[in-house]
Symmetry: C2
Subunit: 276 residues, 2 copies
């Protein structure tokens, strides 16, 4: 008899369902960040609940996740509601809850998801992948800070790595890196969603100062369909992020993810809290 | 006795409340688009419901609106739920419903809103306003297509105006224009939210071909606080939008809005359906 250990991402995404629209999951230490799970794994898990809902039509088109409170170690429930089904799009709301200190259920995370049936049309890319060295030409990053989830990705920085000197010398917010799951895993929508949040806080880079920071809300637009994800397989993605505005405790970040062939897989945006 | 006619935007934003968390509004012909209200006015109205909720804390930080179905002429209800209140942020869900053809209530629109208490911190802009001619140097656009809501804005295109020849000659998706309410009205959060959706579909510009198109989901990040909006007053905003990827029936759009002084007020993103 042979047993296989599931990939850490599959383990994190494992959900059970006890009633229609209701799913149960459990946080995993594999993707732990500093005070809760890595935000990308929370986003991926909420998307996963929609993807395994029996009424699902189509593939993910957009996902917005609002991080209302830190997720604690332990079980959580997901209420998944298909609020409207049209001919080619379907709209979903997801509400994640955990028991709070008093034992009452409290909302930790909310999400809206649009899934869509897509068909081939006129298409064009207006944001070509930048010219960068190949993954093999970029050295693998050492884990830069003590968060377990960093071990779940192979990261090969191209530009804008985590500063090594916190000396207020920052002048840019641009990061580019090659990226894939570690161990390698064929790309699917939850994996891509998780990767959209892979960037360390832009304020750390822009200031070369490490201040408390955390995502408040993230939105992802999926440009790839399942066939393109399958074609991308275990290849690297080029992930790029930059900020637009840092103002009074919050900054925004825009990100793009391409496969090695230069095909745009997803664009993403987030608003992030930071402390002086 | 003197009577004054309310500004069309105030008229559109008028809501009554019959029960806690429940608001009623009515569509207005002033902001009518082709098959329903202008998306920006729907976004502004959902935000307005949060802003007049008695439990509101702070000012708008982010707003995501999902257009699940066309809104019909007539009344609508808004269910406004403060799902989580933290020390400095508050998370909201808004669900808009209308009676469908059978008389049953059906969801037309959903939104999530984050409001936040902001305080002055280290701040920097990484996306300076582009150098463009002043509003007075840019001619006012004539109404380019037959939608009533276009009359509610004074638009002065800088670059990327609506094509005048639909001949497949397009090569860019960038539009810049100076913009303000018509008649002029002091800027507030609902007005700014409405302006984030002011751009005609990027696919029309990129292709120089007019195809059916409509926003599926829009997200806005507010970088300005109330004091900066008040300072901006009735001045023009420079609004800029470009697409990143057009793929198989959906494209994404990124937008920035600055005041005349070059201060970033909001950044916005949307995913838009288009037909071949």
């Amino acid at each position: 008899m042979t047993t296989t250990t599931p990939h850490p991402l599959n383990h994190a995404l494992a959900l059970t369902s006890s009633a229609p629209d209701l799913y149960q999951g459990h946080t995993t230490p594999d993707y732990w960040n500093m005070v809760g799970p890595y935000g990308g794994i929370t986003a991926a898990t909420l998307l996963q609940a929609v993807l395994q809902h029996p009424l699902l039509l189509g593939e993910p088109l957009s996902l917005t996740v609002n991080f209302a409170a830190a997720v604690a170690e332990g079980p959580f429930t997901l209420q998944v509601t298909p609020v409207r089904t049209n001919r080619s799009t379907q709209h979903w709301l997801v509400v994640a809850e955990q028991a709070d200190a008093s034992g009452a259920q409290a909302v930790t995370t909310t999400a809206s998801v649009v899934t869509a049936a897509r068909r081939e049309t006129w298409s064009v890319s207006d944001t070509p992948m930048p010219a960068v060295p190949t993954p093999a030409q970029c050295a693998q990053a050492q884990r830069a800070f003590r968060s377990e989830w960093l071990q779940r990705y192979e990261m090969r920085p191209v530009t804008g790595p985590l500063p090594t000197q916190w000396d207020d010398s920052g002048h840019t917010s641009l990061t580019q890196l090659w990226l894939r799951d570690a161990p390698a895993r064929a790309l699917d929508f939850p994996a891509l969603a998780a990767m959209c949040d892979v960037f360390f806080p832009r304020v750390w880079l822009r200031r070369a100062r490490r201040v408390p920071a955390g995502t408040v809300s993230i939105t992802m637009y999926f440009h790839a369909g399942a066939a393109l994800l399958e074609h991308t397989g275990t290849g690297y993605l080029l992930a790029q992020a930059r900020a637009q505005e840092f103002r009074n405790g919050y900054f925004d970040q825009s990100a793009q993810l391409w496969n090695e062939a230069g095909q745009m897989l997803a664009t993403s945006h987030q608003i992030v809290y930071y402390k002086e």
